[in-house]
Structures are given as C-alpha cells and as structure tokens.
C-alpha cells in the first residue's frame, strides 16, 4: 500500500444515500435517509442507540437491502448490484465491526494475513512482512501469535483495524469502534482512525455515540435521529450548533464524559 500524506478532501460525494427506508419487522428504522460523504473525509454519524447508525453501514456494503431509496458507492449502485458487482464494491471497502469479528480459530497474524492470502499471489515471506507492517501500525506486533480469545477488547479492535488495512481499502467503515473501551483506549483508537486517514487518504464513515471519539476523528458530523439526518456540519460548527436535539445530545454526552449523571 502506498502511503499518501495529508489528503485534500474534494467536494464530489463518493458515497451517497438518497431517500433510504429500512424496517425490521414493525420497526421503521430509517425513514427517507439522505447522506453524502466526500472523497477523503472522515464522516461521523452520531446519534443515540437504536437509531439505525450501524444499519447505514450494512446498507453500504450490501449486507442489508433498503426497502426504498438508492445507495451509491462511487458510480456503482449498491442496492441494485449483482453478486459480482457487490464483490467489486466490497473489495474497495474495509469494515471494522463493533465486535471486531476476528476469526476465533486463527491467530492474530493469520487474521491479518487473511485478505492477502485470499486475494493476492504474494509469497509467504512477503505476506509475513506486510502483516508485521500492519500490526506495527496498530502497535500489536507483540501479540502476533496470540489467539483472539487472549486479547482485550481494545487489542481486538486494533488487530481488526490491521486486517482492514491489509485489504488496502479506499473506504473504511467503523462501527462503534470505541464501544465498551476505557477513555484512554478510546483516545488511542480515535488517534489511530485519524492517523489512518492522514496516512492513506481513505474516505471513512465512523458510526458512534461517543462524542470525544467523534471530535477527535471527524471532519464532518451528522446527527441521526428519528430515521433521518436532522443536522450535519463540519466538526467545529457541529459542536457549536443551536439545534435543540443536537444540543441535548451534546450536553448529555459532555455530562457523561465528565462522569456526571445526565
């Protein structure tokens, strides 16, 4: 993977969702969601639990289908994609799951090597070199031969991020990457996300309800509630907004971050 320094986000949207509706049984989660993410930016989707934030990411990689609306990645429409097209689209996307989703019976190194073993013809020593390189980036080289069950939550996320990077994606989707982690580890993960964006110039969508992480990693923030984006702006402007629902969420977030009961 060639390292690029300080990418300049352009204005053309790389990811677009138009009028997307999604239900789970009787629960109508997304109600005409519109979203645009520009190339090279880190776009944060903020919002309370259960508002369909993770669902947005699954729609983008075709793990779920919308009942209505359009989902675009570049010039390819995901919701109408054939099996082969979906594979092409997924080849450009890395997905960091909330649960890390490491393959339990493979070692850390084997997990990170998986995309390389499956999709490249690299020789074993070259794969090993790249695995070391990616594990080094997330400071997990010392745990190379450990099994996922022996790792802490934060270590698993970092290994999962190394696996994502091994696939050389141009888009990375982060699903609650700091959920269940202590404040120090949250800070580390947020810094890693920012570092990855700076080094590789990837376009990222970060789904979270963790305000410090959103503030640290995001270029733009959208607030999702009631099945729609109700406010979206650059990180600085978003944090100063007067929108009542956003203000309410932000003040709750700050209180929680300070250890007070909201």
């Amino acid at each position: 993977m060639s390292a690029r320094v300080e990418p300049q986000p352009d204005t053309e949207p790389l990811i677009r969702m138009v009028g997307v509706h999604k239900s789970f049984g009787p629960k109508h989660v997304l109600k005409g969601l519109d979203l645009e993410v520009r190339r090279g930016e880190t776009f944060v989707i903020l919002g309370p639990s259960g508002t369909g934030k993770s669902c947005v990411l699954k729609l983008l990689v075709g793990l779920m289908q919308p009942e209505q609306g359009e989902v675009w990645v570049g010039k390819q429409r995901v919701d109408h994609a054939s099996h082969r097209q979906l594979w092409e689209i997924r080849g450009r996307i890395g997905y960091l799951f909330q649960s890390s989703a490491l393959i339990n019976w493979l070692t850390v190194a084997e997990n990170v090597a998986l995309p390389l073993v499956e999709h490249t013809r690299l020789r074993p020593h070259e794969i090993d070199r790249r695995v070391d390189e990616h594990l080094g980036k997330v400071h997990m080289l010392q745990g190379k031969y450990q099994m996922p069950a022996e790792l802490s939550g934060g270590q698993k996320r970092r290994v999962a991020l190394a696996r994502v990077l091994a696939g050389a994606p141009t888009i990375i989707l982060y699903d609650e990457p700091t959920a269940g982690l202590d404040p120090v580890m949250t800070q580390n993960i947020a810094a890693l996300i920012r570092g990855v964006q700076r080094e590789f110039g990837v376009t990222s969508i970060l789904v979270t309800h963790d305000l410090p992480c959103a503030r640290e990693a995001g270029d733009r923030i959208a607030y999702l509630d009631g099945g729609k984006v109700i406010h979206s702006d650059t990180t600085e402007a978003f944090l100063r907004t007067d929108h009542p629902a956003v203000r309410n969420f932000l003040s709750g977030g700050r209180a929680a971050a300070n250890g007070a009961t909201p």
Binding site: V61, R90, A101, I103, E118, H119
Partner: protein, 265 residues
C-alpha cells in the same frame, strides 16, 4: 381458522425455502472443492475433527453393538439349532445397514452439532459478515473443508464400525455361543462374498460405504446450513444446533431407506 392456514402456509414456505437453501449450499460448497489444495490446512484440521476425535466413541459403540446383536440373535437362533447363522446375520446387518446408520448417528450428535454450533457462533458474532465483506465465500472457507472431511471420514469410520462390530460379535459368539472364531469369521467372509462387484468389493460392503458417503454429505451440509441461518445470539445458536441434529437424524433415516431400496430392489 384463516390465521391457522396462514401459519401453516408460512411454515411450509419456510421449510421449502430452507430445504432449497441447504441443497444450494451443498452444490456451491461441492463446487468449491476445487480450492481444496489452497485450503489444505483447514481440510486436514477438519479430517482430524470429523474422523479422529469421534473414533473412541465409534469404537465403543461398534463393539457393543456387535456384542448385543450376537447375544440377542444368538440366543434365539440357538433355540432353533441355527446358531452358526449368527455370523452371516451380524456381517450382513452391520455392513448393509447398522454400520452406516450407527456411524451417521454418532457423527450427527458429535460432529454435526459441533459444525452447527461453531458456524452459528461465527454468524451471530459477525465473523461471517466479516468474511463476506472481505469477499471470502463462507461456502469455500468454512463449509467446503467440513463437507470434504465428512465425505471422506464417514465411510472410513463406517468401515471401522463394521470391522469392530463383527469382532464384538465374534467375542460373544466364542464365549457365550461356543462358535470358534475361525468358523465365525469364515461365515462372515462367505456371506459377504456372495455378490462381488466394483473392484472385487462385496456389494454388501460397498453399498454400506456409499450410504455412509451420502450420510456424511447430509450431516455436514445440514449442520453448516443451520449454523449459517442462526440469528439472535446464544439462543439462536442453541436453536440452530438442535434443529441441525433433528434434521440430520430424520434425513439419514429417510434417505437411508431410499438408498437401500435403490441398491436392493
């Protein structure tokens, strides 16, 4: 009343859909067997899991099945002065039917349930989603090695069941029915050698092994399909495991009947 028929219709639709998906999984995974060399490590792991791990249980069950069969049948045959027929009954019974069935039932309980639980846990912990996003087909990565291992190891374990069961019968015949081992084994060989086909193999033996091969495919595919359709956390994994065991038991018995009918009528 309308609600009842709606429920019935939905259940029927789901069953047919599930059966279709299982058959589709069987063929797509079998097609992936062309990648077996690339995934040889996983295939070897599964050969060990499906063939070596259940071996102690298979040995014990096979030995006692042969012994019980000899004891029960031998006592009755002795009353009619036909106890020397015991060897033929045990040999034919084990090789044709009991060997493949016993092995399949043991493997369903020990390996099939394990496959469903393992893949089901991967499904609910998003590992399967992670594979799909990495453009790695679960049929090739997870199901094919298990399918291949079960297709190879079930006939092999069935052969072991046949041999150990016959030896168990020999033990009881020698100690309780006063039939010498030489006579017993000669009778077994004679009864099995009546119809020789495919490469000189007795028909009664190779039909049993062919059945075992089909049973192996059933157990691996049903277990994998149940695991891949698991939803709803630990409860969903438990449900998938239970349903895979029930489906495999029923399918082994039903398909076994039709295979017997195909080979012997």
């Amino acid at each position: 009343m309308i609600r009842f028929f709606r429920f019935l219709g939905r259940t029927l639709e789901e069953s047919v859909q599930g059966a279709g998906q299982t058959v589709e999984l069987l063929f797509s995974s079998a097609w992936c067997a062309r990648h077996a060399w690339k995934r040889r490590r996983f295939v070897l792991d599964q050969l060990y899991t499906c063939g070596i791990r259940p071996l102690p249980v298979v040995l014990v069950v096979a030995l006692f099945t042969g012994m019980i069969l000899a004891l029960q049948t031998g006592i009755e045959l002795d009353r009619f002065g036909a106890k020397d027929r015991i060897a033929s009954i045990i040999g034919l019974g084990l090789c044709r039917e009991m060997g493949p069935f016993m092995t399949a039932l043991i493997l369903t309980a020990s390996v099939g349930s394990g496959i469903a639980a393992e893949i089901g846990t991967m499904k609910v912990s998003e590992e399967i989603d992670a594979l799909e996003i990495m453009s790695i087909r679960p049929e090739s990565f997870l199901v094919m090695p298990r399918l291949l291992a079960m297709a190879l190891m079930t006939p092999l374990l069935t052969f072991v069941t046949d041999v150990v069961g016959i030896l168990g019968g020999c033990l009881v015949s020698a100690t309780r029915l006063r039939i010498t081992p030489e006579l017993y084994l000669n009778h077994v060989i004679d009864s099995l050698s009546e119809v020789l086909t495919i490469g000189g193999l007795p028909k009664d033996l190779y039909t049993g092994l062919a059945k075992a091969f089909v049973f192996g495919l059933i157990i691996a595919t049903v277990g994998s399909a149940a695991g891949l359709s698991a939803t709803g956390g630990a409860i969903g994994v438990g449900r998938a495991t239970r349903s895979s065991v029930i489906q495999s038991f029923v399918l082994v018995i039903v398909v076994g009947y039709y295979l017997t009918s195909f080979f012997y009528t």
